[in-house]
């Protein structure tokens, strides 16, 4: 059974981990919260 091919998994994992950390540092956590708790009616197809 071939054992190779998992390097890309780790590379992807680290890449996306970095992206997420950048996002968190840019203040996106609060932005997600904002959009999830003040629901804009026109955004969900009502009104």
């Amino acid at each position: 059974m071939e054992k190779s091919g998992y390097t890309r998994s780790y590379v992807l994992l680290i890449l996306f981990l970095i992206l997420m950390v950048i996002g968190i540092n840019a203040g996106e956590v609060e932005a997600v919260l904002e959009k999830a708790i003040s629901i804009c009616l026109s955004c969900i197809g009502i009104g």
């Binding site: 609060e30 708790i37 003040s38």
Partner: protein, 163 residues
């Protein structure tokens, strides 16, 4: 999968550059959005105007934005008869987003920024949300947008029952 990686990276790149395409100009000379706290909103409700419409909005809410020019028209026409229109943005964190909208539409009625403090204080979860106030009392709380005609009918109707 190489293709998967490529398409994800491509998507990220597109997103990144798209942000630079059109940046809205901020005109500092016009109507400045003022900060307000929940107590301030209560004060607005007690102000001398009659009737008062307080519209709670967020910048990203299309229905909220669409109401603004109609409010402006109503304000221009009826402010001398006592109509008070106040828009309070509950955008989190910063007033710049609502300021851009105010500048783009050249709004002249008072627009405030209350942030999540106002949102929590009044228990608002759906926008647009409106308080209709007459003689210091909230007579109506409305979830959702009004059409242009509804706003006109509302304002003219309310003006009749004000002293």
């Amino acid at each position: 999968m190489k293709n998967g990686m490529k398409s994800i990276l491509l998507a990220c790149t597109i997103v990144f550059f798209a942000g630079f395409l059109k940046v809205v100009d901020v005109d500092a000379a016009g109507n400045q959005v003022m900060s307000i706290d929940p107590a301030g909103v209560e004060e607005l409700m007690k102000s001398d105007n009659c009737p008062i419409i307080i519209s709670i909005v967020t910048s990203r809410c299309r229905a909220c934005r669409q109401e603004l020019p109609v409010y402006q028209a109503m304000y221009d026409q009826y402010k001398d008869q006592g109509l008070g229109i106040f828009v309070v943005s509950i955008d989190f964190g910063y007033p710049q987003a609502i300021q851009q909208i105010v500048d783009r539409l050249d709004l002249t009625f008072p627009v405030y920024w209350g942030g999540d403090e106002v949102m929590n204080a009044f228990g608002i979860s759906l926008v647009p949300y409106k308080f209709v106030v007459q003689n210091g009392e909230i007579v109506e709380q409305v979830v959702g947008a009004w059409s242009e005609q509804e706003i006109k009918d509302k304002v003219t109707g309310l003006l009749k029952s004000c002293p």
